[in-house]
Every structure is written in structure tokens, then in C-alpha cells.
Subunit: 215 residues, 2 copies
DNA sequence: ATAAATATGTTAATATATAAACATTTATGT
DNA sequence: ACATAAATGTTTATATATTAACATATTTAT
């Protein structure tokens, strides 16, 4: 039974993992799977899997389990992967180029429409057949091209300025790789990738034993 | 009062953010801060901030608040930033190079000791004065050099193989950029950076309204 | 010097997330 | 065809995380 209530972030963040594991099952020609089997592979409890999926519909069948293809398609739909998205990357440095070259995103339906930078040395070079443009031309570009997702790969100090341009030009989703928190209106979605935070979490855990043990 | 109990991941993942915000306060020559003020900047509740910090010690003073410098140093210590870490990157492609060139990590004490790849076109090139070595020489390198953190930037299919080498050679912390879950013993820490999952979360949220609204 | 304001660490209450239990349905095997 | 096993969706219980409340201590202002 569908629930119209808000889905929690905890559930949302598990969805891509379901999508990935189901894709692998498909590749291995496995046609059906139970929550118990999936549980053993993916590492969530079977109960959690059933509850998560039930937020969106009754995809399984008692006594049988889930049809892999069907469930994969449903989750693709839930994740919004049945359409394409246009994107721009601001910042053609290391991370910007890495993201631009990540071919997987294209396969998932994310089309890179433009790359911008302010460094004259980078403006004009080509990344995947896309010429890096001057960031001064970003506003005009966004007026002429409907862009769904803005990707910020500039240094911390310039990130908010880019975000402001995005917001002004009506972009509703920002993927932010700059190590800062962006200030945007409520209706704009920001997804952060904070590499330093990830690394510091790792170093914390590497030291945790010492932290409490040696006193 | 110190609590010897396990710190939850929810708390751990907030620590780097405290570190970042306190660093900014220091840069702005702010010497003291209350949980209330910090709350307004960082976006957590004041209550949560006090509880989080109290997992590790009594760093504040009633009526005064927290000394910024002192608290920053304490959190640095908690995060394990008072020592340096040696690292290797496996995979000199886009992401590997991006991580290698991220100068911030060096400032935080993460020293890149080696970069490895299996692509003959990449072996021999220099990234930040470090010559990319053949991944076949990785095991030997790890025997001769004490490495704290192994960074995996290879394609999905090769990631587990690299992780196995890491484990075999005694590495206890893995930073994994490959879009797969690694199988490692309990005493080895894995921190994942799954860019696709982050992007799919964004696309989900961008579509959430439509998902429930149009039926 | 005293009163009011500030702000902590800690305890209690609430909210959220996860796991277990269960009634019901379907599939499977004899 | 029938009994047993499998596995769902859902409800209930437990655990975890967050927020609010409060007693106590320090600072600041008069």
C-alpha cells in the first residue's frame, strides 16, 4: 500500500544501493529474489528491505519474493532514472574533470551540457568534446539552455557565488563538491560531496581505540 | 565527564563539520563561542552540539561558552589530526589524480607515498612529483613502506582485488571510491565515497514531488 | 557586592529508525 | 489435491537519536 507520507533520508540513501544490487542480479541473470536473500547480499535486514520497498508500493508476492527485473525498473522509476537530466560543471580543475569524465553518469541519463572555469589556461580546452567556457558567460548560458543540475567543483571561496547564479537562473538541484555549506532557498536541493569530511571520519575511526584506551 | 561508550556514527560524521566551522571562526579571530551561536552558524541544535562535545570531554565553561582555539585543538585531537598518515592511491585515472592533487589533504597531515596503476600509458608519468608505479609492484611496496591508508580509485571490477592486497599487507584503513562494497575483515575500516549514490539521491529528491503528486 | 543574564553538562522526554513478530497468501512437492 | 514451506505486507516492540528541560556555575552590569 502506498504511503503518501514523507520518505525519510535514511530510506532515500538506501535506494541507490538497492538499485545497484538489483542491477548486478540482472547481470547475473537472476530473475527472482526474496528479501532474505537480498538481505544476505546487501547487508540490510530483510525486515528493513521490505519496509523500505513498501514505502513506494507492493512490489513483491507472498511465497515468491520479488521479480528482479520488475523491482529494478520500479526503483529506477522511483530514483527518477526514466528521464534524462541536463547538467553543467563549474570548475574544470581536478574534481571537475574527474566528474566530467565519469562515463557512468551519462549511462544513467545525466547529460553534461557545459563546463565553465575562470582560469584562462583552462578556458578553451576540450573535455569530452566539450569546450571549457568562461564562467563569466555562465548566466547567459543558463538563460539560453534549460539545465536541471548544477555541479559545483570550484574552490570553497567561490562556491557560494556560483550557487547564487544557479539560484537566480532557476536551477533547482545543486551537486556540491566544494568544502562548504551553501546557502540556498528552501526549494533548491543541495547534495554535498565533502571529501575532507569523509577522510576525517576515516582518520577518527582509525584512532578511536587510542582515544579511549590510553588514559 | 568522559564516556567510554561507543560513539555513534551519527556523532562521528558531525565531528569534521565542527572542525571546519571552528577553523573558520579561528580565521575570523573569534575567540569564544556558545553552543547557541555555533548552532545558528552550523545548523545543528545547541542541545545537539553540547551533547556531541560531551561525548569526549567537558570543553566548555558555564556562563562563558567554549574557547574556540581550545575546542578546535581538542577536536583536531579527537579526529586524529595530531599525527600524520601515509597513504597510497591505486588507480591514476581521473578520480585518482583528483585525489592526489587535492592539496588540502596534505595540509591535514595525509602524505601521499605512492600512486599505482596497471595502464602502461599511465605508469611512469608524474603526479605531484610522484611517479606512477605498476600495480604489480604494490605488494612489494607495501612490505617496504608502512602505509596507514589505502585509497582505491580503480574501476569496480578491480576494487576487491586491491582491497585483498591491502588487507594481506596489513593496511587497516581503506578509502574506497570504487562503486562497490568491499569485503574485508572486521578490524579493517572502510570509508566509501560512492558518487553515483550521491547523484541518484539528488535525482530522487528532484523528482520526489512528481512521484507522489501525479497519481 | 549583588542581581540578572548567560550558558554549560546532564537528565528527561520525544521522535525517529530499526528489528522482530505475525497473519495471510502463494508456491512447491508428494 | 493437500500439506508444508516460503515469503510477503503490516503491526508491534525495541533501540537509537534528537530535542527540550533543568540545576548549577560563571560572567556581566549596576
Amino acid at each position: 500500500m502506498n504511503k503518501k507520507t514523507m520518505i525519510s533520508m535514511a530510506v532515500i540513501r538506501r535506494l541507490p544501493k538497492y538499485h545497484r544490487y538489483l542491477g548486478e542480479l540482472l547481470n547475473n541473470d537472476i530473475t527472482r529474489i526474496s528479501s532474505k536473500e537480498l538481505s544476505e547480499r546487501i547487508g540490510f535486514t530483510a525486515s528493513q528491505i521490505r519496509q523500505d520497498l513498501n514505502c513506494f508500493g507492493d512490489f513483491g508476492q507472498q511465497g515468491y519474493g520479488y521479480n528482479v527485473r520488475e523491482l529494478y525498473d520500479e526503483i529506477s522509476k522511483i530514483l527518477g532514472l526514466t528521464r534524462t537530466y541536463t547538467t553543467v560543471i563549474i570548475g574544470a580543475g581536478n574534481i571537475g574533470q574527474a566528474v566530467a569524465n565519469y562515463s557512468k553518469f551519462e549511462k544513467l541519463g545525466f547529460e553534461l551540457k557545459g563546463i565553465f572555469d575562470k582560469n584562462p589556461k583552462l578556458i578553451g580546452i576540450k573535455i569530452r568534446d566539450i569546450e571549457v567556457k568562461d564562467v563569466d558567460d555562465l548566466s547567459e548560458f543558463l538563460e539560453k539552455n534549460k539545465i536541471d543540475i548544477g555541479i559545483i567543483c570550484v574552490p570553497r571561496t567561490q562556491a557560494q557565488g556560483i550557487a547564487d547564479i544557479f539560484v537566480k537562473k532557476g536551477i533547482k538541484a545543486i551537486w556540491n563538491f566544494a568544502p562548504t555549506d551553501l546557502n540556498v532557498p528552501e526549494d533548491v536541493i543541495v547534495e554535498n560531496v565533502h571529501l575532507s569530511e569523509s577522510l576525517l571520519t576515516l582518520s577518527y575511526r582509525l584512532n578511536e581505540a587510542k582515544l579511549f584506551g590510553e588514559e
